[in-house]
Symmetry: C2
Subunit: 195 residues, 2 copies
Amino acid sequence: MAEPALDALVDALRRLPGVGEKSARRMALHLLQHDRIGAQRLALSLQAAVANVRHCARCHTFTESEVCGICADGQRDARLLCVVETPADQSTMERTGSYAGYYFVLMGRLSPLDGIGVHDIGLQALLSRAAEDGVEEVIVATNFTAEGEATAHAVSEALKARGLRVTRLSRGVPVGSELEYVDLGTIAHALVDRR
Amino acid sequence: MAEPALDALVDALRRLPGVGEKSARRMALHLLQHDRIGAQRLALSLQAAVANVRHCARCHTFTESEVCGICADGQRDARLLCVVETPADQSTMERTGSYAGYYFVLMGRLSPLDGIGVHDIGLQALLSRAAEDGVEEVIVATNFTAEGEATAHAVSEALKARGLRVTRLSRGVPVGSELEYVDLGTIAHALVDRR
């Protein structure tokens, strides 16, 4: 059964993260059988997003304007700058409702094995941004993974070398968890970082 | 953060089967950050598939021609017609390498609760196809689920009423499995259908 348009669609869907051969085929058949309007809409959304979504000139997150909504908001606390890896992490921080400062989004993390160095995470742009008048503290909120920690270390050292105050999210026991079921490394960190 | 093009893309991705809010956002960010060429390719593949993929005039499976490759193949066994629910099931049957006849693809199954009746699965077209010269046996290979069994029953009755020989895939113990771990209903069926 050589059906080039169908096979090409399956191949294109497989490039989505977390989608294998079987799911891609299921998605393609579903769209063609039950949701051709959804397929058209997805095609147009992809083209519109590729054409319109770019990086905020100040914080590097995704935006459709020159500067993103948060950076353009004059009401936030200009003394705080929070460094995160991705727009998804930024949106998680926002949803906590506990942070009112600005952001810098690295759009990645250091990963020497994948050839991702300090240039790819926009370190120079971050240093310029952090050096602006009014920034008093840079909160490094990269992930608590090996690569996230390495990124936090590199970013923090570079910021401190320029005399900036740098903090990191505290490590500790997740809210609502029982000590018995928390991994020992986390408890050890929670001891060290005890308040 | 109002980013209409990004939000529209996330919404469109959510319509894919098995994709929720979080995966849709992860897919959108991945495409925009790492694979804009893949996003363009997916958009074009969707449009090409919607424009070119239609139903085979003989067996109703997806094809880009008037008649699909299997129906157009004169070398297959015209005495056998196998009824399956979906192109995916058809492709599974083909991969067994044990079937050389033709197919009729229902493109669905009876589901009264969803309003899917005999008209939606093309029963009339199946009856005409099965009445063609040379068809000696119709093998009903719908799924062994409640809806698949109900579909098999309706399809078989209609075919038998026209004097056709109708068979069903045998139920039984899966190859390679130990009886101890097979569900009792399957073993009961395997007893009834014993050879």
